[in-house]
């Protein structure tokens, strides 16, 4: 009896599908690469600097918070790196270093850790970071100002700003094909529509993001933009233009789908996505900001817990 073998004893199930948090976030990181690499090719070393600093400082803040809160070190799960990466993708290539470091601090420390870390944040940390920066240092996030010294062989005006200031005549120069291929000014990783879409399709097929949110977000933008455009074609841009400019695609694919701050049930996902898309267009067309994606997503984040209450009745539930 005493020299008996020692077995592992635990409760069922004894199998796992081998998914892992780190695999999930590293895959999303991989999906950002087409858009990011394109941005780096376009904007050169300054873009490399912003991306590297953003990712590394995000990881640094994460490590610091792990240490301060005396919790296990979580920098290897890929979440902090992803936050840093997405944050960099939204910035102009010329952002000064302190702006990047401050932004990742806000994202990681205030956006994520204050609420209890991964899975507990009610807002998308990247959105919190960028929103604070937009409100605090408006000029640095103004793409027309920030990218003034670049000449990449196409009109270096920020399409959404041009539209807002001068109406649809100002955006005639942007063909959908050009926009899709990234011939527009904007954030490092936010302009190359095709790259973002490829990343998005990859993530949807692998199940790393919930397609319901992305698709309904885009549908919300499309339909709302179309209504406005039909109403006053001289003032409001068309749906395709709005989908291919600003943060729309990166928002639909990488930002609105952040796990913790978005709903997980079917109907709430559609409402959340569509709501984000509609709000984006309302802010763009009648609000004061050029782009509405950041605030639209933050507003939907607030509604998320409420939305996710709409859920199927559990089988066998007796009410």
């Amino acid at each position: 009896m005493f020299n008996q073998k020692k077995f592992i004893v635990s409760h069922a199930p004894f199998w796992h599908d081998e998914s892992k948090v780190s695999v999930r976030y590293y895959n999303i990181l991989i999906a950002t690469l087409p858009a990011v690499i394109f941005g780096i090719i376009q904007y050169g070393m300054p873009a490399v600097a912003v991306v590297s600093l953003s990712v590394s400082s995000a990881i640094f803040w994460e490590l610091l918070m792990n240490r301060l809160t005396k919790r296990p070190i979580t920098i290897t799960d890929g979440n902090a790196a992803l936050i840093g990466m997405l944050f960099a993708m939204l910035l102009p290539a010329t952002s000064p270093w302190w702006l990047v470091v401050t932004g990742t601090f806000v994202a990681i420390v205030i956006g994520k850790h204050i609420y209890g870390g991964i899975g507990a944040n009610p807002f998308n940390p990247v959105m919190v970071g960028i929103a604070i920066l937009t409100l605090s240092w408006k000029g640095f996030l103004n793409f027309d100002q920030a990218l003034l010294n670049y000449d990449l062989g196409y009109s270096m005006v920020y399409p959404l700003a041009a539209l807002k200031n001068f109406g649809t005549v100002a955006i005639g120069a942007f063909s959908p094909g050009d926009l899709l291929l990234g011939r527009q000014s904007g954030g490092i990783g936010a302009t190359f529509g095709l790259g973002l879409i490829i990343g998005g399709i990859y993530l949807m097929l692998r199940g790393f993001i919930r397609w319901e949110i992305s698709v309904s977000f885009l549908a919300g933008v499309f339909i709302t933009a179309l209504i406005f455009h039909l109403f006053d074609g001289a003032r409001f841009g068309g749906p395709v233009f709005h989908i291919l400019t600003g943060y729309t695609l990166i928002g639909a694919i990488f930002l609105a789908t952040e796990d913790s701050s978005s709903p997980a049930n079917l109907i709430p996902m559609f409402i959340y996505g569509a709501g984000g898309g509609i709000l984006t267009m309302l802010i763009r067309n009648i609000g004061i900001f050029h782009d509405g994606v950041v605030f639209a997503i933050l507003i939907m984040n607030i509604l998320n817990p409420l939305l996710d209450k709409i859920r199927p009745k559990a089988i066998g539930k007796v009410v």
Partner: protein, 427 residues
């Protein structure tokens, strides 16, 4: 180890792998030198009359453990009682193990033979509760449940297990006899046989309506059978018998048929053995046979830190000793190599929603798990449908954070049950 079988867009599903082609021949395990009989009564229970060491028992001899005959066991072999010890099952279940040194020569007991002349519910309940397949005769004795339908489950609830399917395909005559007996002794005419869709038929004159069970896990668990086959939804926290339905395993029904035909209680239990390399086969072993004797017979070796599981990968029970016996409801024995045991973690829920998508009971697990982790069990029941869970294990299987969700659920139910029992006994 099964890999993730579903992409992001498709509906998640894992399929049962059916027993196909020529039926395997079960390996017959010889009667071991010692068998263990497990009795569902605590050793220290006040009214227990336990067998004594040194007593001899015959094959088929009934050991009554309480004066009124409520709890009994039937010896699966002839021999001498060599030990009586406390037995602890999963989640603190208490019982008593009786070890019998088996004799070379079998000496059959004929108490049942007399009773078998005239099939009746009383004799079935008095002798057949420990049959291979574990027939739930108890339910018929419960005055609060009036059973009007019998469902015979010919599909195996867990993945990889092929025991019930095998019985359906190889012992159809015994099942037909069992059905006839069941109808006669219970007076219930409404009998349904549920079989896997891909198991070939020949059920013409079986005496029951034949219905098919889907191939996606967990279609063959009782809750899903009732829902898909009978169109009845079991209310949260209740069982099939609360709807007037009694579920028998195919093997139990075949055993009943055999018992009444031969006037002898059958003791050979069929089980699927799933080896470390994933290969599987069937064995037929005397109830009470220790796991170690089965492993020896099928040529499987186990090492430290392997896992030995009674049942399948999703709902089985892992055991800590190879002395553990085959019991009437042991449908499978699975060995997992230490290198293929997935680890669980205490990482927080990231709200990815994978669990919601797979849960057949539609439980908001992403929320539930937060309450379970915090030990707020009552809230888990009130707000997040804890009792609707019918224990398929899929949520733990897919959880990206590798949270032992299902384990938490079991613990919560166990704790709530304990509190309830304490309250009841206090009044």
């Amino acid at each position: 180890m099964l890999k993730k079988l579903f992409g992001g867009l498709a509906t998640p599903r894992i399929d049962y792998i059916p027993l196909e082609g020529r039926l395997p021949v079960p390996v017959n395990i010889l009667l071991p030198p010692k068998v263990t009989l497990v009795l569902d009564i605590a050793m220290d229970a006040k009214d227990a009359i336990l067998p004594k060491i040194g007593d001899t028992v015959k094959t088929g001899q009934k050991l009554t453990l309480v004066e009124d005959g409520r709890v009994y066991a039937i010896s699966p072999a002839t021999g001498t009682i060599s030990a009586v010890t406390p037995f602890r099952g999963e989640m603190g279940q208490v019982g008593t193990a009786v070890l019998i040194d088996t004799a070379k020569k079998e000496d059959p007991d004929d108490q049942f033979a007399a009773a078998a002349q005239e099939p009746a519910l009383a004799s079935a309940a008095a002798f057949l509760a420990g049959l291979p397949g574990n027939p739930p005769f108890k339910v018929f004795g419960d005055p609060e449940k009036s059973i009007h339908t019998i469902v015979i489950n010919g599909a195996d609830g867990d993945l990889l297990v092929a025991t019930q399917q095998f019985v359906v395909q190889s012992r159809i005559d015994a099942i037909a006899k069992g059905i006839a007996v069941l109808k006669r002794i219970t007076g219930i005419e409404n009998v349904t046989l549920a079989v896997p869709v891909n198991v070939m038929g020949g059920y013409g004159s079986i005496g029951a309506e034949v219905k098919f069970v889907d191939t996606a896990y967990p279609s063959a668990l009782p809750h899903m059978i009732l829902k898909d086959v009978l169109g009845k939804v079991i209310p949260a926290g209740k069982g099939a018998e609360d709807l007037g339905v009694c579920i028998f395993n195919a093997e139990a029904v075949a055993s009943i048929g055999r018992a009444y035909e031969d006037g002898k209680i059958p003791f050979q239990k069929l089980l699927t053995v799933i080896k470390k390399d994933g290969s599987k086969g069937l064995v037929s072993a005397r109830i009470g046979t220790p796991v170690k004797d089965i492993l020896k017979a099928v040529g499987e070796t186990v090492a430290d830190r392997d896992r030995v599981i009674l049942g399948g990968p999703m709902t089985g029970v892992s055991i800590y000793t190879l002395d553990y016996p085959v019991r009437p409801d042991t449908d499978a024995l699975m060995i997992q190599d230490k290198d293929s045991i997935p680890f669980v973690s205490d990482y927080p829920c990231i709200n990815c929603g994978e669990c919601l998508r797979v849960c057949p009971a539609k439980i908001p697990i992403n929320m539930l798990v937060r309450f379970l982790e915090a030990g707020q069990y009552q809230e888990a029941v009130d707000l997040y449908d804890l009792y609707a869970c019918f224990e398929c294990g899929l949520c733990s299987y897919v959880c990206v954070s590798r949270i032992p969700i299902f384990q938490y659920i079991r613990l919560a139910k166990y704790e709530l049950n304990r509190i309830e029992t304490a309250e009841v006994t206090n009044v």
